[in-house]
């Protein structure tokens, strides 16, 4: 059974809305706020505590009177009927199971359409053209004929008019705040006690995340410093996390690299959430690193070698030599690829010198005969070139190279290049 309270006090709408909600919450934790002047809640669990449906209705009315609410109460076996009864009646109206159709029979069809706004109003005009005025008239029509003429909308309206449509309460989920802040009793200069407090705050936040089936996409930290400007950092995670230990470790690594510079008097932690990563691991798929553990590992390595030196290489769409950028690695599980005969060939690869080694190159007959650079010194015994390469002539990043493959008498093969505008020779790399 459901109870609906509908307020007729339009003058003070916002206060009435709060009062209705407060009254409903006194009887049930799950309340549907249908609109600003109507709330619905389940009263079935109250039967053992308050007695019969009439006693429950009188208790609701008594508490509403105590709150000085001008409202009407409808009680029925389903949500829609309870709402229609509350909007129809003056005072309290109770429809016991089996009585719904008779109690709804004299309600005008306009009220039915005001009840559910999803139905097109042209259907109401059609019903009026048929000479129908009340719910009782609509309920008397045969269902199959109504379906043929109005489709599913007709069936839906007829079920409401009969008071037989069952649906669950549309309970609005409470808004969860993913923010924690703390005012410290005295300024903290050291990182360790601060991390202890962060750990507690992150533990609470992660518990909230898991209760809502969410994960953190971004962590925003604001520190109010003693006698200095506010310190802020934003940690974005390639894979959403919901483990407080991993988040704390990432925060620690960041703060160790970028310390606040003054004592902390207040902090605020805020998370932006997203759907957590859900992966169905295959029994025969190769294992991959755990995403949260890998993020911590990559953050540690980034602390060693620099953030710009860790990641997955991605080739850029250009002919420029050695054009790439580093991105986050793809941690999805992939099934093994089909066997490709081309993968069974050993390909000759290049080992680059970064930056390219400046070289002195002796030229004879327009071809290099001797190469001298740091760690590379020898007479050319075989050569291939020049291979011209140029591009981006329209921008300041223009390049123009003449490349040679040379075999030196030290037994190694190198790729050397002449940078044409500057007329500088470099050793690009070694074939290895």
């Amino acid at each position: 059974m459901y109870a609906c309270i509908h307020s007729s006090d339009a003058a003070n709408a916002s206060a009435t809305q709060d009062a209705l909600l407060a009254l409903a919450v006194e009887f049930s934790p799950e309340v549907e706020q249908t609109c600003s002047d109507t709330v619905v809640f389940s009263i079935a669990p109250l039967r053992s505590m308050l007695g019969s449906w009439q006693q429950i209705a009188s208790e609701i009315a008594r508490r509403g009177y105590a709150r000085k609410l001008k409202a009407h109460l409808g009680i029925a076996g389903n949500v829609d009927t309870a709402i229609l009864l509350a909007r129809k009646c003056e005072g309290t109206l109770l429809a016991m199971p089996g009585e719904e159709a008779s109690k709804l029979a004299d309600i005008a069809l306009e009220r039915l359409f005001a009840h559910d706004l999803e139905i097109d109003n042209s259907v109401l005009e059609t019903l009026h053209q048929w000479g129908l005025e009340t719910c009782g008239d609509l309920a008397g029509l045969p269902e199959s004929a109504l379906t043929e003429r109005l489709g599913m909308a007709g069936v839906y309206l007829r079920q409401i008019a009969l008071g037989v449509r069952q649906r669950a309460l549309r309970v609005r989920a409470p808004e969860v705040s993913y923010e924690e802040q703390m005012e410290l009793g005295h300024p903290l200069e050291q990182l360790e006690p601060l991390l202890f407090l962060f750990g507690r705050a992150l533990g609470d936040l992660c518990a909230r995340l898991r209760s809502q089936s969410q994960a953190a996409r971004l962590l925003d930290l604001r520190l109010a410093l003693d006698g200095a400007r506010e310190y802020g950092c934003r940690l974005e995670f390639p894979v959403a996390l919901d483990e407080s230990r991993s988040l704390l470790k990432l925060l620690q690594l960041h703060l160790e690299r970028h310390p606040p510079g003054a004592a902390v008097v207040r902090f605020r932690l805020r998370m932006e959430t997203t759907e957590p990563r859900r992966v169905q691991g295959g029994l025969f798929l190769p294992p991959t690193p755990e995403p949260d553990k890998l993020q911590v590992t990559l953050a540690r390595i980034a602390g060693l070698v620099g953030k710009e030196n860790v990641g997955s290489p991605e080739l850029l769409y250009t002919y420029r030599p050695d054009a790439f950028r580093l991105t986050a690695p793809d941690l999805r599980s992939f099934p093994p690829e089909a066997d490709d005969p081309r993968r069974h060939l050993l390909r000759l690869s290049l080992r680059l010198f970064r930056p390219a080694l400046r070289a002195n190159v002796h030229i004879a007959n327009q071809a290099p005969t001797r190469v001298c650079a740091a760690g590379v010194n020898g007479t050319v015994v075989e050569r291939s070139g020049p291979w011209e390469s140029s591009g981006e002539w329209w921008a300041s990043s223009e390049w123009h190279h003449q490349e040679w493959d040379v075999a030196l008498d030290d037994g190694a093969l190198y790729r050397i290049a002449r940078e044409v505008p500057a007329d500088v020779w470099v050793v690009v790399g070694v074939y290895d």
Binding site: S312, R347, S349, R383, D405, D432
Partner: protein, 219 residues
Amino acid sequence: MANTAQLSPFAKPVRFRSEILPKFPALRIPAVPLLRRGISRGGITEITGPRSSGRMSVLLHILAQATARGEICAVVDTNDQFHPASAAAAGVKLARLVWVRCRGNTEHAMRAADLLLHAGGFGVVILDLCEVNRKVLNRIPLSYWHRFRRAIEQTPTVLLVCSSSAQTKGCWHHLQLQLQHPRWEGKPPFCLLQGLDIAGRSCKPVESAVQRLSLERTA
């Protein structure tokens, strides 16, 4: 056998490392006859040789096999010499590769490799120590190799160490490569480098036979 006969029938027989059955199937490397049984997982494999001996080509081939199986791999590049375009041409799936550029700092390279191995879940981790000064290599504490070995044993991870001379202690495979001769097409001055012929020898397990490998240049 005589000693075994004198033991009590209830004595637990000693199992040597070679008798322990591998927990994970080996990583198959079809193009390298020296590794015809594949690379054993949970151990260190070392590839050594001078410049142009095909070390990088063999490494990229192994990476290509591992990433094609769907494994996540890592390259710890001490001297920042990894060439992504060559890797892509060799068939490596770059999206499944973590590249750590250490810019010549060997200590950072060793620590990065340590962190990656302890994170777990990687198929192949490559530690590239080529072109590192011999004096610096000699200063690497031996305890690192022991630590690496303990970190990956009983895991499906392979640690591949590449350098100009043998570094690791207790590796399972050790391949020594040597350039035989480059293959040129055409006559001077219109030559074209077609590939390299290299000779490989397995130093561990010891095999006297020298295998010839052919590296083809990508079209």
